[in-house]
């Protein structure tokens, strides 16, 4: 009896995804739904003014209160999912892909390319990231598009570094040699064999990076270099509410909660993905 039970349990457990992936996935899934269809939940137009309800505290009509324009904070927080999830994805996908490809080549080729890349890495991590991004955004002009470019110019290095390091490990393993002995081309070995095994840290980092991108987006929004008003974006909202911390805390607190929650989602998902992709040997 108990043996049957144990067998059933083990079968069940095996199919089950890592717990953190499930909880992270649920948070992110919901976020994505809100990002795609914010009007499902948001009762008001996020940019509509209401002069009769400036700085109104949370109430049934406005669950998160209103801001200094009388805009519904709840609707703004919800609508901000669209922009912030977009930031999370767009600011990181380019660096992820480009960095992964560069990292794969550098890690495989080694030698001079590795030395050059090493200096680029040094320079990049030596330069305060935020400052560099600010400078680049200042050159290109504010706005999300340019922010993606700025983040991408710097961000790919980290992916490339992770992938290169992992490829260096992987290329010494027997299965890589096996590929060479089979007469496979380097391209096939890199992309068909090594990369799938080397990319896990990059994917895990990607999860974290998406959370970081939202934070960076907020910081830039706060500095006025990210999303442009009247768009609802959490960083912009926090910046909007900064002067009202004492009198209307709800303007900045709720977007703050949203940031933390989404960050948590990404981080849990990252842990989960790491679990899921761990090579079983």
């Amino acid at each position: 009896m108990s043996a049957a039970w144990a067998a059933a349990r083990s079968a069940f457990r095996l199919k089950v995804l890592p717990r953190s992936l499930v909880s992270g996935g649920v948070i992110l899934g919901l976020s994505l739904v809100l990002a795609l269809w914010p009007s499902l939940l948001a009762p008001y137009d996020p940019t509509a003014f209401d002069y009769s309800a400036l700085l109104a505290p949370p109430s049934w009509a406005h669950p998160f209160g209103t801001d200094n324009f009388g805009r519904d904070v709840f609707s703004r927080v919800i609508h901000a999912y669209t922009i912030d999830m977009q930031i999370a994805i767009f600011a990181t996908i380019g660096p992820f892909i480009f960095g992964t490809i560069v990292g794969a080549f550098v890690g495989y080729a080694g030698g001079i390319s590795e030395a050059i890349f090493g200096r680029i890495v040094d320079a990049t991590i030596t330069f305060p990231f935020l400052v560099l991004v600010i400078a680049i955004v200042s050159v290109l002009g504010p706005g999300l598009g340019n922010m993606y470019v700025a983040v991408g110019v710097v961000g790919w290095v980290f992916y490339a570094r992770l992938v290169a390091a992992e490829i260096k490990v992987q290329k010494r393993l027997d299965y890589a040699d096996a590929g060479r002995v089979m007469g496979y081309t380097p391209l096939r070995i890199i992309f068909r064999h090594l990369l799938p095994n080397a990319i896990t840290p990059a994917i895990v980092y990607w999860m974290t990076d998406m959370a970081l991108a939202i934070l960076l987006g907020s910081s830039l929004g706060y500095l006025g270099l990210g999303a442009q008003p009247p768009a609802a974006e959490w960083g912009v909202q926090i910046a909007d509410g900064k002067n009202f911390m004492n009198t209307a805390w709800w303007i900045s607190v709720f977007p703050g909660v949203a940031i933390v929650l989404t960050g948590l989602g990404f981080s849990l998902a990252g842990d989960g993905v790491a679990d899921l992709l761990r090579v079983r040997r």
Binding site: A178, G179, V181, M182
Partner: protein, 345 residues
């Protein structure tokens, strides 16, 4: 010696690796440290035979095996496949060579891409070398699985779902997929359990006779090498110390090192115990090779010449070669004065 052309010949191959090169050495203008992994190795592999290669860890067995399949390029000397120097092969010729000389690796866990299923692993080999047309590939995969005695449902599974022995069979199947002439097996079974080792060895023996394979069998387990090989080469510190037929080596080793190696291996018979240490000391570092015989430091029969002059591999009759100044070492002569001859039963 066999008059026919050897399928693989190794002709004075040397391989060096660059060791750590500290700034201190650079500043002093000293050259980087060099690991002498192979020194002037000469060997022949004949069609259809199994050549065993034994030696202690770090003596260069794997390096040699890798030179054979061109995972390493030799620094000096040449490896010839059917008389052609493999270092000169380019493009299609190189691919053809790669197809015909395959390698199987030691680590059953590391040698298979963990993210590919068995059918992907085998299918890729078949596809890249155009061994079969696309629709025929699944059938061929089934045949291969059958050949290495894996169940058919193995095709859809990932390496981690198999035991070590099964994985080695997948490795063998991958090598066989391209229908090679030569298989270089580097420590094929050392990572496996005794009971499973036997399965894989049996499989290799069967396949060899069925497919007329030539096998280079690299291992450190003397019992295994003796069991499977026609001829055996004993290596020490990047050099071949002795080449002998399997029986010849085990009954009358012609090199003191071979003898010590045999003595050190524990006998399976509890009645044959002894308390004498077979060989003292350890393998010296390949970073700075001694000028004379590499074994001089540990050899019980050492004399002055050994320390200054490196003995060359020279014939000892009946297909035997040894690199030792004691040319009559191990001769099965009834000469009672020879202290080294008494070992043989």
């Amino acid at each position: 010696m066999n008059a026919t052309l050897p399928i693989l010949s190794i002709d004075g191959v040397s391989k060096r690796f660059r060791g750590p090169y500290s700034l201190m050495r650079r500043l002093k203008g000293e050259p980087p440290l060099i690991v002498h992994a192979l020194n002037n190795v000469t060997l022949e592999v004949h069609r259809g035979e199994t050549l065993g290669i034994v030696g202690e860890s770090g003596c260069g067995k794997s390096t040699l095996a890798r030179c054979l399949v061109r995972l390493h390029e030799a620094d000096a000397g040449a490896v010839r496949f059917e008389g052609k120097d493999i270092a000169l092969l380019r493009g299609d010729a190189r691919r053809a060579f790669n197809r015909r000389v395959q390698m199987i690796f030691q680590d059953p866990y590391g040698s298979l891409n963990p993210r590919m299923t068995v059918s992907q692993i085998l299918g890729e080999a078949l596809f890249v070398h155009r061994m079969r047309s696309k629709p025929e590939i699944p059938g061929r995969i089934a045949e291969l699985l059958d050949l290495v005695r894996l169940p058919q449902d193995a095709a859809a599974r990932y390496p981690h779902e198999f035991s070590g022995g099964q994985r080695q069979r997948i490795g063998i199947a991958r090598a066989l997929a391209v229908e090679p002439d030569v298989i270089v097996a580097d420590e094929l079974v050392s990572a496996l359990d005794v009971s499973v080792q036997a399965q894989v060895i049996n499989l290799l023996l069967q396949l060899q006779s069925r497919l007329h394979l030539t096998v280079v069998f690299v291992a450190h387990d003397l019992r295994l090498v003796r069991h499977i090989s026609h001829r055996v080469a004993v290596m020490y510190l990047g050099q071949v110390m002795e080449v002998n037929t399997s029986e010849g080596l085990f009954t009358a080793p012609r090199h003191p090192y071979s003898k010590a190696l045999l003595e050190a291996a524990p006998e399976l018979d509890p009645g044959q115990r002894n308390r004498k240490v077979a060989l003292r000391g350890e393998l010296p570092s390949p970073l700075n090779l001694p000028p004379g015989c590499p074994f001089a430091g540990r050899c019980p029969n050492v004399f002055d010449r050994c320390r200054t002059e490196r003995p060359l591999l020279s014939p000892r009759g009946r297909g035997q070669f040894a690199a030792c100044h004691l040319t009559d070492f191990g001769t099965p002569a009834p000469n009672a004065n020879d202290p080294t001859g008494l070992l043989l039963p």
